[in-house]
């Protein structure tokens, strides 16, 4: 077991525990940067997709994982970001500007939405945001002059610093774009968490009364959290639009909102890692199931889809298993595995057995 002695305040402030951990992260970063040379187009595309979901997950994590405000409507903000980006591009705004602006606009809209949502808690907030998510479909239809209504919109390749970025034509360039955004958002998130604003988010999540008593303006903090969350989600939406190249009112459904929430819960609420782990599960597991189906088919014979919807059924079962197995999310499980290795051989067999736990009402605020 490595024991880190604290000798300097900076040790708590900088985002890595020690050089060892830092080097691990740097290796990971190097690996993902060179991914286009390692992976074929299919897997690169899937990795891109997972990263886009992870960005969306980071967005929702700010709000739900760190500020404790459950949203079942974040697909609405994906849509917002996506449309804002494309409409700006159509107006001739260069991508370098259009993309950040798309997030910013979504963030501002999110903060505005937060104003009426401020007095809502828990399930009431969840259903409020869900209603927004359901309405966004109709809003897109009603704002046809800008949104293209039901016929939707098409977004072609974009260019960034002279580089042609095209999901299908230059998948590696698109991947790097997404990776760049992912890294930037993650760094911003880390910085947030070690700054006063990030701590005030956690304060609001854990106890609104004492946050107030410490001088945290709860309403303002929630607005900020909504704004930031929606901004990041908006970027994810813009990337999703570029990834799909075509989208309309039926693209960002409430089901996607639900999947986003599932993703961060399965990954582990309240941790950055959780957003990534969850994105792998929600983003890649269905593909994995679909691919493994071929091999199952090869072994047991019969190429055809015998049971329609089987993958979704199995996917549901696996999600259930994940949650039953580790209600604190995959990141919680990962931490345990790591502790196990660190303590080796001084672990006890039932060290991580769940002690009985009990809930109290959430109807008191």
């Amino acid at each position: 077991m490595r024991i880190v002695f604290k000798t300097d305040y900076m040790q708590d402030i900088r985002p890595w525990k020690d050089g060892h951990q830092l080097s691990l992260y740097l290796i990971l970063l190097a690996l993902v940067v060179v991914a286009p040379w390692i992976l074929n187009d299919f897997y690169l595309g899937e990795l891109t997709n997972v990263l886009i979901w992870a960005i969306a997950g980071l967005g929702l994590m700010i709000l739900t994982g760190h500020t404790g405000q459950a949203s079942l409507g974040h697909a609405a903000f994906l849509a917002m970001g996506c449309y804002a980006n494309v409409i700006l591009l159509e107006q001739g705004v260069p991508f370098v500007l259009a993309f950040p602006l798309a997030g910013l606009i979504t963030g501002i809209v999110g903060a505005l939405v937060a104003l009426p949502a401020m007095r809502l808690h828990g399930i009431y907030l969840a259903i409020f945001t869900m209603a927004l998510s359901i309405l966004v479909d109709d809003i897109i239809v009603l704002t046809e002059p800008w949104s293209g209504g039901v016929s939707g919109k098409y977004v072609g390749p974009v260019s960034l610093f002279g580089l042609e970025i095209d999901r299908w034509g230059t998948p590696w360039a698109f991947y790097w774009l997404v990776l760049g955004v992912t890294v930037a958002v993650t760094l911003g998130y880390i910085n947030l968490l070690r700054s006063p604003m990030g701590r005030s988010f956690i304060a609001v999540r854990d106890s609104e009364v004492s946050a107030q008593a410490m001088g945290v303006d709860v309403a303002r903090t929630k607005t900020m959290s909504f704004g930031l969350s929606c901004m990041v989600t908006g970027w994810a939406g813009a990337l999703m639009g570029l990834y799909a190249t075509v989208f309309n009112n039926e693209t960002f459904t409430v089901i996607i909102s639900i999947q986003l929430l599932m993703m961060i819960v399965i990954g582990g609420l309240g941790s950055i890692h959780g957003a990534f782990l969850g994105a792998v599960v929600i983003g890649f597991l269905p593909q994995f199931l679909s691919i493994s189906k071929e091999y199952v088919g090869m072994v047991f014979g019969g190429s055809s889809v015998a049971i329609p919807g089987l993958e979704v059924g199995v996917f549901g079962l696996i999600l259930i298993a994940f949650i039953l197995f580790e209600p604190m999310g995959l990141y919680g499980r990962w931490l345990k595995i790591r502790t196990w290795f660190e303590l080796f051989p001084f672990y006890r067999k039932d060290m991580f057995k769940r002690q009985k736990s009990y809930l109290k009402t959430e109807r008191l605020r």
Binding site: Y124, A131, S357
Partner: protein, 291 residues
């Protein structure tokens, strides 16, 4: 006259929402878990009744098969709790929400596998029957929905308010630890409530399938019923009914008087407006914590 007709059919429709909402509220009231699979349980209940009743399947007489399906759904509800939900005892509510959403996927898949994806209607003696009051027409099924919903709401309300078990359920939802300290078998109580919710889902499903038809994605109706429960004040049984009625009555009037393109938005717009002005519903169930 027109208005009255809209009102009456809105009420009947609202009762269906109320009935599904009751299932949500039941589980919430006793466990503070939000069961997002309630709509899917209703769909399953409907299909079980169809499987027992309809000529192409087992063709049992209507009444016994209705009773049987309510029983089966009660058992399914209990087993769901016993073998799935209970493993999550004491874990965060969000995790339970996600769990029930995933359960919904699985239920939809199973139903599709057994009964296919096309709509099925429940063969029933009420079909085609109607009650006429002057110019007003009301289907027999609508009458049944209204009667059953009212009875069930008041029955459940009395159960929670008057019986020791009902009180214990409320206590268990507010503080599981304290409930145990009082000797309440919290897990068994929760199993009971899931059984009850299963039975209520079956009743809702049967009435729904008799009134129209069901397919595996019918469960999505649960979302609107959920909205209804929230409007009423999540956790309040009369609230579920009132919320259901508001949404139900809202719909025909919106469809009648609001321009196309906007009318279908009305229930959700109402929900949003409602929450802005009454952040915890009509019969608020939340309190400010005393410190």
């Amino acid at each position: 006259m027109d208005t009255l007709q809209l009102l009456i059919s809105g009420l009947a429709n609202g009762c269906v929402y109320g009935l599904i909402a009751l299932g949500f509220v039941l589980i919430y009231k006793a466990t503070e878990a939000v069961n997002f699979a309630q709509g899917d349980l209703m769909m399953l209940g409907a299909f079980i009744a169809i499987g027992l009743t309809n000529a192409e399947y087992m063709g049992l007489p209507f009444l016994p098969s209705v009773i049987l399906s309510i029983g089966i759904m009660g058992v399914i509800g209990y087993l769901l709790d016993r073998f799935v939900i209970r493993l999550m005892f004491g874990q965060s509510q969000v995790a339970v929400v996600i769990l029930t959403i995933a359960l919904g996927f699985v239920i939809r898949f199973v139903a599709g596998l057994i009964w296919g994806h096309e709509p099925h209607a429940l063969e029933n003696p009420m079909a085609g029957g109607e009650v006429r009051l002057g110019d007003l027409v009301l289907g027999m099924e609508d009458v049944a929905v209204i009667v059953v919903t009212l009875l069930l709401t008041f029955g459940l309300f009395a159960f929670f308010a008057r019986t020791k078990l009902g009180l214990a359920m409320q206590g268990a939802s507010q503080n599981q630890l304290a409930a145990y300290y009082m000797g309440i078998p919290v897990k068994r109580v929760q199993g009971l409530v899931w059984a009850l919710a299963g039975a209520v889902a079956a009743i809702a499903g049967i009435l729904f399938a008799a009134k129209g038809s069901v397919d595996p994605s019918t469960g999505l109706l649960g979302i609107k019923a959920f909205a209804a429960a929230v409007i009423g004040g999540f956790g309040s049984l009369p609230g579920a009914l009132v919320g259901g009625l508001i949404v139900g009555v809202m719909e025909p009037f919106a469809a009648r008087y609001i321009a196309a393109g906007y009318s279908q938005i009305a229930p959700y717009a109402l929900l949003v407006a409602m929450l802005i002005f009454r952040p915890s519903g009509i019969f608020s169930q939340t309190r400010v914590k005393k410190v």
